[in-house]
Amino acid sequence: MKVDYVLLILGMGIVTYLPRWIPLILLSRRQLPEWLRQWLDFIPVAVLSALILPAVVTTGEPRHLDVFQPAFLVSIPVFIFAWKTRSLAGSVIIGMALFWIAGKFFH
């Protein structure tokens, strides 16, 4: 292993671990105020949506809007499938299959 890469990976590991660790240590032993509990309750739905939507409706560098790309078009049936079945593995398999098929039409 190259020393440069090991040091780089070590640095990446530390800056990734700290934001995961600090809130657990600080917040798990105290009674949180009601507004903060409510705020934290919205985090899962908000963060997942903020991760997905830009990933499927924007492309390029610098980013620009592109709604008619396979990633977004496939997202619609995958969303419906996930809503009906609540199956994580099923959604991944259906999504990959549809995206693969869509790619053949788009290229």
């Binding site: 292993m1 890469y5 090991v6 780089l8 990976i9 070590l10 640095g11 990446m12 590991g13 800056v15 990734t16 671990y17 934001p19 995961r20 660790w21 600090i22 809130p23 657990l24 240590i25 917040l27 798990s28 032993r29 949180l32 409510q38 705020w39 934290l40 919205f42 985090i43 899962p44 739905v45 908000a46 963060v47 997942l48 949506s49 903020a50 991760l51 997905i52 939507l53 830009p54 990933a55 924007t58 980013r63 809007l65 997202s75 995958v78 969303f79 996930a82 809503w83 609540r86 994580l88 593995a89 959604s91 991944v92 999504g95 990959m96 549809l98 995206f99 693969w100 098929i101 790619g103």
Partner: protein
């Protein structure tokens, strides 16, 4: 008739007892079984994503050992993808580490949210738990904590099962990746598909739909106007804040929703 009636009653009693036992069960095997069962859909998603990562990392010049070390020490899919593309672009270590930090800053919000369910756990276990906080394990564990008998032991088994799946699939990708053509089998869509289902699992009423829509639109707007990845944390924090105010204004309406 009477016998059947009694029989039916007994059966319901047994199932109630079973549920109580399950809640109390800290035995090794039931905990392992529950955690691994809940983790397997994540593993199904990680396998193609990990293979894809291994392929890219190998092409960027990382050895399987270095790929494994990164999966072990960083364990964050999207940040690892970005780091590898920066390495192949010839970026220096400090910019890569800073980018990793901003991409993974969202875990700060996830760990804060998880802390509510991990009260009274000692620092050692919390430190081990923190290692396994990813988008996927976070979303599944939060759903389980809310909906069924679930505890930190099962959550911890889930985290580490997912970690093993990630570790092995990325290393295998590093060894055998050159045999998989780019874009084959829709591999690039495994991560978005998993995120879509994880999002669906978090929706528990119209207020959550509203917060999801606001977060998504804000994130797209910020992503279009600003470079980098700060849009994820910014849009998440803003949408959650709006959600708190929406709940306040809705008052009773949202309370009846919560019991649904």
């Amino acid at each position: 008739m009477e016998n059947i009636h009694v029989d039916g009653e007994m059966r319901t009693e047994v199932t109630i007892l079973d549920k109580e036992n399950m809640r109390a069960s800290h035995n090794f095997w039931p905990v392992m079984k529950d955690g691994i069962t809940a983790a397997w859909p994540i593993c199904v998603g990680y396998a193609p994503i990990g293979l894809a990562f291994g392929v890219l990392a190998q092409k960027a010049g990382l050895s399987p050992g270095e790929i494994g070390l990164m999966s072990l020490l960083v364990f964050a899919g999207s940040a690892q993808f970005i780091a590898v593309s920066m390495i192949s672009g010839g970026a220096a270590a400090i910019p890569i580490i800073l980018t990793t930090f901003t991409v993974n800053l969202r875990h700060l919000l996830m760990s804060s949210s998880l802390a509510v369910h991990l009260q009274r756990l000692n620092a050692g276990w919390l430190s081990l738990y923190a290692y396994g906080v990813t988008d996927e394990s976070f979303a599944i564990n939060m759903t389980r904590f809310r909906e069924e008998p679930w505890d930190w032991r099962r959550a911890l088994v889930l985290n580490h099962t997912a970690n093993l799946a990630w570790l092995f699939s990325t290393i295998i990708g590093g060894y055998g990746g050159q045999f998989i053509p780019a874009g084959a089998f829709g591999i690039d869509y495994a991560l978005p598909a998993m995120f879509i289902c994880l999002l669906v699992l978090q929706i528990r009423g119209s207020l959550y739909v509203a917060v999801a829509v606001i977060a998504g639109l804000l994130a797209v707007a910020c992503a279009l106007f600003f470079p980098g990845n700060a849009y994820i944390v910014a849009a998440t924090a803003a949408a959650a804040t709006i959600g708190v105010f929406l709940r306040k204004w809705n008052g009773k309406a949202s309370k009846s929703e919560e019991t649904l």
